[in-house]
Subunit: 131 residues, 6 copies
C-alpha cells in the first residue's frame, strides 16, 4: 500500500464524493475534475468543506472574477505552490489574463517579496497616515 | 549608537537622496515621503535601485493600477508584512478599493494559504490540461 | 563531479559515520538507514549533531511518541517538505496513525495556515485572558 | 477613519454576527468572544465561514481534542503567528497541556524547521519504503 | 500551447534580449546563459530589470564576492529554491567555496531556522544592548 | 499565571541552568546573558541542547567567524526574526561588520527573496552544468 494518495475517479467514487464532483462541474461549467479534488476525496468531509469554501470565496462578489484568480495565483506563486500556480493560472487565462499581465503579476510577486523582507528587517515604523 | 536605522528626513538628506525623494513625490503627486524610503536612505544606492524597481513594476502597464496594488497587498498579507499591508493597503484604498473588496482579498489570501499547503502535502500531480 | 551529494552507504562509510548509523538502527530497532542520514553523512559532524538532536527531542518524554511524530508531520506539511512528510508520516503510521487521523491532521495544518494569515493581516490584539 | 479594523462587541453587532458569537460561546461553553472573531466580524460572511471551518475541523473526530490543539499551536509557532500561539496555546492548556509538554512541542517545531531546510537544500530522494 | 514558459535561446531572441544576454556573458566572462534568464526573457523588461539588479547587488562592493554568493545560497537554501541553490552554489564553488564550507553554511541555515522559530514562538524581548 | 515565559535571571537559576549560563559567558568572553537563553531556561534540556548546537555550529571552522554571523543574520532577516537580526547583527558588528556591509547583506537578502519566487513560479529547469 502506498502512502501517497491516488486520485479517486468519478466511477470509483462514493455517492457523497460524486455529489461534490457534480457540483464542481456544474458550477464551473466543465466536464472534468482536476486532481486536487480527486486526491482530497480520500477525506469526503474535507472535500465538501474545502469546495464549499472555494465556491463561496471565489464566487460572485465585489472583486472581478479574473482579479480573484490573479490574486490566487499571486499568493500561490509567492508560496511556491507549483500545482496551484498551474491550476489557478489556467483559470485566470480562461477568464482573460494575457501573458503580458501574467508577467506583470510575477514581477509584483517578486518585488513584494523583496520589499517585504527589507521592511521587516529594517523594522520600519508604520507612518501615521497609514494607520 | 543604535543599530536600528532611523528615518532620514528631507532636510537632513544628501542631494542624491533628495533627488529620489523628489522623484517619489512627483511620481505619486504627494508632498510627503513614507518611512520605508526614509529608512532605506541610509543606503542611497539601494534607495535609488528599489525605487526604480517600484516605479517600473507598479507604473503603467497591462494590469489596472488598483489591481496592481491589490496584488501587492495580497502578497504582503500572505507574508505577514504589517508595514507593507498598511502602505499598499492605503494606496489601494486611494485608488478605489472598498472595504468589501479588502475583505474578499483577505479571504482569498487565507484560502490560498490553506489549499497551497494541502496541495503540497498531498503531492498532487499537475493535470495534463494545466501544463 | 556532481554538486548534488549522493547517499553514502554503510559499506563505504567511515568508522565515525558507521557509529552513528549503528546507533540509529539500534535506537529505531530497524536494519536500514534512510537517505537523509546517508546524504548528511558527507558532513560527519553535522550527522552526529543532528542525530543527537533527533534522538533527544523525539525520544521518551511527556508527549506520546505517536503525537510527537504527528507534530513533526504537521510542521513539515506546513513547510512543504515532501521528504519529511514521507519519512515522519511513515514513522507516525508505524506508531499507529490511521488514515483518518492523517486526514484530520492535514485539515488542521491547512486551516491553521489560513487563520494564521488572517490574524496577522488583521493585526489582531492578543486578548487579556491569553496573556 | 482608521484602516485597522477594531473589534466589534456583542452589543454593537448585527443579528447575523450575534448568531455566530452565540454559537461560538455555546460550542466552547464560555461567556466571552476573543478578538479574532470580533475583528473578523467586519465581514460577516467570512466570520460565519471561518467559524464553520474551525467548528468542523477542531470538533470531535479521530484525533484527541488536546492533540488537535497542540497541532494547531505547532503550525502557528512554525509560522510565527503570535496571536494564534496565545489563543490555541490557551485552549491546549485548558485541555490539559502541561508546561513540560509545551516545551517538547516547541523543541519539535524548532527541530522540524531545521531538518526541513536541510532535507530540501540537500535535495534528498524519498526512500522506497516511504512511498 | 503550454502555460510553462520555455527557455528562449540566443538565436531565437530579439535584439533587446540579446543585448542583455551579451552583457550577462561579458560581465560573467562566460559563453553561455543559464535557464533563469532564458525563461525570464519572455518578459524583456523584467529580464533587463532583474539583471540590472543582480549586476548591481552582486557586483563589487564592501562584501567579498565569495561571501556575497554564500549569502545568496544561504537565503535560497532557507527558502527551498532548488534552482537558486544549484546556480548560486555553482557560482560560490567557482569563487572558491569548499565542500567543507558548504557544509558549515547549511548547518547555519538549519540552525538559524530552528532558533528563529523558537525566538518568535517564545516572544523574546530584544535586549537593551542589541537596540 | 502568565503563559508568556519570563527570563530566568542567574540568581534565580538552578545549578544546571547556571552551568550553561557560565559556559555561554566563558565562550563569548562576556559577563551577561541575553534574553533568548534566559527564556529558553524554562526548559533546561532544550537550553543545554540548543547552546551545544550554537557552540558547535558557530564555533571555529572553515568559514570565517564574521561570515558565519553574517549568514545567520541573512537567514534571520529573510525569516523576519526581529530578535535574531538584532542579536546576530550585534555579534556581526562586534566582529567587524560595517554599516555598508550590512546594507549590502540586506540587498542580497531582498533580491534573493525576489528571484527565489520568480524561479520557483516559472518552474525553471536546473541547467546541466549546475548539476
Amino acid at each position: 500500500m502506498s502512502a501517497k494518495r491516488q486520485p479517486i475517479e468519478y466511477e470509483d467514487a462514493s455517492p457523497e464524493v460524486r455529489a461534490v464532483y457534480d457540483d464542481i462541474m456544474a458550477t464551473r461549467k466543465t466536464d472534468w475534475i482536476n486532481n486536487f479534488w480527486k486526491v482530497l476525496a480520500h477525506d469526503p468531509i474535507a472535500l465538501r468543506r474545502i469546495w464549499a469554501n472555494i465556491k463561496e470565496v471565489m464566487g460572485p462578489g465585489t472583486i472581478d472574477p479574473l482579479v480573484k484568480e490573479m490574486l490566487y495565483v499571486a499568493v500561490s506563486a509567492s508560496n511556491g505552490c507549483r500545482y496551484c500556480i498551474a491550476s489557478h493560472g489556467s483559470a485566470a487565462r480562461n477568464k482573460g489574463m494575457t501573458e503580458s499581465q501574467y508577467s506583470e503579476l510575477l514581477a509584483i510577486v517578486g518585488l513584494a517579496n523583496e520589499t517585504n523582507r527589507l521592511v521587516t528587517a529594517l523594522d520600519v515604523e508604520v507612518d501615521e497616515p497609514f494607520l
